[in-house]
Symmetry: D2
Subunit: 300 residues, 4 copies
């Protein structure tokens, strides 16, 4: 977390109180850039090749203004930041009750890749840990795998307001090394928490994690959440307003894994982190924020 | 939860929107009273003797108005509803950092009496599970045990706006049967999570759980939280405004144990339940709510 | 266990003390046949189709005599009874130290299909639980999968003294439903406890479990162990005498899963059970025993 | 283990094959004394004060001969080596079935001070881990605590063939620091695995662990086991012959904690270790062995 943590705390005091925002962001960026520590994730080998000095901040308002500083246009893979959007998609298409039957909303106190499953309720604890996110990935609509992949890409493209693509080399790297996720998927298949072929579900899940975005894109995607599901840039209603609260609640309690409690305590904004080094946060009705800095700590 | 769960959902729609409040409460009470299910806790034998038909609701506003319906004046023991107040007291007297060193703020996904300790951080996960509450109980100020007991009673009396007492028979029952809490305390002593004699710490903890309150009292105590620490009835500033947010955050993420995530999702108010059948909830700046109905479910 | 448990206790008193053995076995069979309880495993659907009334006992001496009673010629799949033989094969071909690096020899107190891995030692706890048996299956020699399958079948054929085959329908059933074993294999791949493609390793493992044997075959195979590795029927030295003690030690401490301690206490012979309802036991230097009765209890 | 491990392996080759035994032992002692590594336990502070260079070996035969070399007459506290004798005592006085209801015989794969309890069977896993040994300590006969303490001391004195005493300073040190054992005892009281006041049970348990013995004493005690319960020195039948097998079986599968499997595999004699640095081993019908060397490894 490191820089990101500090910046989120700084931003609490608040950009909204300051004008011009650009000056504030530039000053903040300069101040936080001095912080070092952590290192880029390398358990997916392709991720380890990133420049650790990259550092960008972007803020998008619900009325479509975007403020960015630093490396806000550098592409990286979305990784776990994709999870709340996929969850929101599932809620919209299946309804709250049906989704709750497949995936809980309880924080686990466990790390992101925990194999602990709620075998009493027969579902993963929440959609922010890998197990839950894999179960959610199975809910992407489409008759064929190609259709599901296309629908997934369209979802993220609509959220960003521009056409997004998969980073093939990261996807291949995930596919080649994702044995733990495969173990999780087979355990869930074994207890009927998922029902389709794990390889197919993981193919979509790994692609979803490999969608290429920029810091600016993620700020817009977060602002879409802040804006009741309507993209503030394109005006397209990606999600209906319904379920936005559900999604933010789960981001709030589970988005930062086993640091979620301390995050709520220290920062207090619904947020989601990803191993490529980005964090998004949402101030409902106001702004979406993205901070990007590849070095991460163990809380991811 | 049962009745309480339903009532909280109902109350979201809201008392503030309705006048007169009394009519609304009476109607709500009548509607919810029809719900049955659950049963009173009896692992502390004295608790099992309660009349399961008791049912009260009380609401206190930050400007000191109190609305109550049903069995809102029947005394019962506060049990775990005492935990957030003790935590708030510790924050005030030791500061956030010192308290965080002793007790974390992470939800555990585990039940209230879980023996799982965060042995990496060497502290209980959060102050709402028994382990954390016992560590917090050790922080009550006082040179002697008598002083600490007096301070604890004074704290709760100030919060309720009237002199409160211990229910001796419940206290004796807890003392006689609290072996699991004793095991937790000795494990914490073993890893230096607590440092005083567990018997002394548990003596205070069991007494704290045995403080006699009514539904009306708890509504006022919750309203004191909603009112930035100032008792709306007596005007006494029991807590400084500082740390109220910390406390509500922890109630929000951990107050309902392993149902906390679903509670946040379904109800969304910072809340705390206790085995004697009460739940308090806080709407910051507006009201404190207490619902009392002895039958409980397994989430407690 | 049921019948088997009783019979093993009875057989302690001892066939060697009795002549003629056939009379003893017939009497024992009649007495034990009256015991009911347990039911055939059906988590592999094909296994659930067996006649639960089948019941056979066979004893083979190290000098090649065979005594059999009841359904001792009915074929069934060997299942986990294959594990000690595969372990013995690995010891012979890799040596004790190399095998110990891949698979431990500690009982786990856990069930047969436990996912608990010894992540400190980075190896499965022992070769009798599925995780360890899968790691051992990877050690079958052969350049290609076909060669490895042929070597495996040859091993079991040599042990039984006749050409054995795979039960294709059980193999297909295992392949279709073995998701938990797949999860275990991917977890081991993830921590480098195994290094080959899990699907290939499991293909061999599922085939190994699907080798068709009779009660008589297994008695001969057990007698081969009792006879220092030399098949008492054919005279062929299937294993060198070396490592027989290692293998019996592991059967003794781990062969009966989480009932191993009680088995050692109650029966005291190195033994191995399988879900298709057979148990083998070995009296070193004297006899191999097999009891077959499909209904099993939860200890398997 | 270190020295002890090596010596046990050396002794497999065998003292019985060698004459004169004294020469063999002296040579063995000299060879093994060169091994260093491990360090004395200090979690009980009093134990940490021992001279780490102490090293003794003693062997007692079932016909009463004693061979000793090195520091075989230096007193130390018996610690966990007391456990099998207490278990044997319980078997004798309550019978196998009654004892099995209170304490299982399954190895756990867990360390000596594990808090894992078999909550399905509602009993500790085995009498060699602390939880089981505490449950066994409760079974010491006697109307009063004084009587029970006297009976316990008499038992160990009979086994050693001389009057033994408690090391008060070690006992006090255990009493002052045994918080983990207290936690275990209260958890067992909570689930009715024990029924008496934990403080009383632990008072006896800590005293039992603090009985002062020498290497020579323990060899005689082990030889008493090898001799079907009759002390080979005094001729007194301390235990009936019955249950000796049960006891050795449990020592075999559980005596060396989470190293038990590897011990059986590498050494193969029923054995029991203690944190003060002694290990006893039994060759039924032949000899009892004790090796004493305070530095221990993590397997204890």
């Amino acid at each position: 977390l490191n820089k990101i943590d500090t910046i989120q705390r700084a931003s609490q005091a608040g950009p909204t109180a300051l004008a011009p925002v650009e000056d504030y962001l530039a000053e903040l960026h300069a101040r936080v850039a001095a912080i070092s520590g952590g290192k880029p994730a390398d358990y997916i080998p392709e991720l380890g090749k990133v420049d650790p000095e990259l550092f960008g901040i972007a803020i998008a308002t619900v009325d479509g203004q975007i403020y960015a500083v630093g490396d806000a246009a550098v592409p990286f893979t979305i990784q776990s930041v994709s999870k709340p959007f996929m969850y929101r998609y599932a809620l919209q298409n299946y309804g709250r009750l049906a989704v709750l039957e497949q995936v809980g909303v309880e924080p686990t106190g466990e790390a992101f890749n925990s194999i602990v499953l709620d075998e009493v309720a027969n579902r993963p604890f929440n959609p922010m840990v890998n197990a839950g996110a894999i179960a959610v990935a199975e809910m992407m609509l489409g008759e064929t795998q190609d259709e599901r992949l296309a629908n997934m890409l369209e979802l993220f493209s609509d959220l960003a307001g521009r056409k997004l693509d998969i980073d093939q080399s990261v996807f291949n790297s995930e596919l080649a090394t994702g044995h733990r996720n495969r173990a999780i998927a087979y355990m869930m298949l074994n207890t009927s928490m998922i029902s389709r072929d794990p390889n197919e579900v993981l193919d979509l899940y790994f692609r979803q994690c490999s969608v290429k975005v920029t810091c600016r894109d993620l700020a817009i995607m977060a602002a879409t959440l802040a804006n009741d599901g309507k993209n503030p840039l394109t005006g397209k209603p990606v999600f209906g307003a319904q379920y936005v609260r559900d999604m933010l609640t789960v981001m709030n309690s589970c988005g930062m894994y086993d640091y979620a409690g301390e995050w709520a305590y220290e920062v207090g904004m619904p947020a989601k982190s990803g191993v490529s080094g980005s964090i998004i946060a949402v101030i409902a009705g106001q702004i979406g924020i993205c901070v990007y800095s590849p070095p991460i700590d163990k809380a991811r």
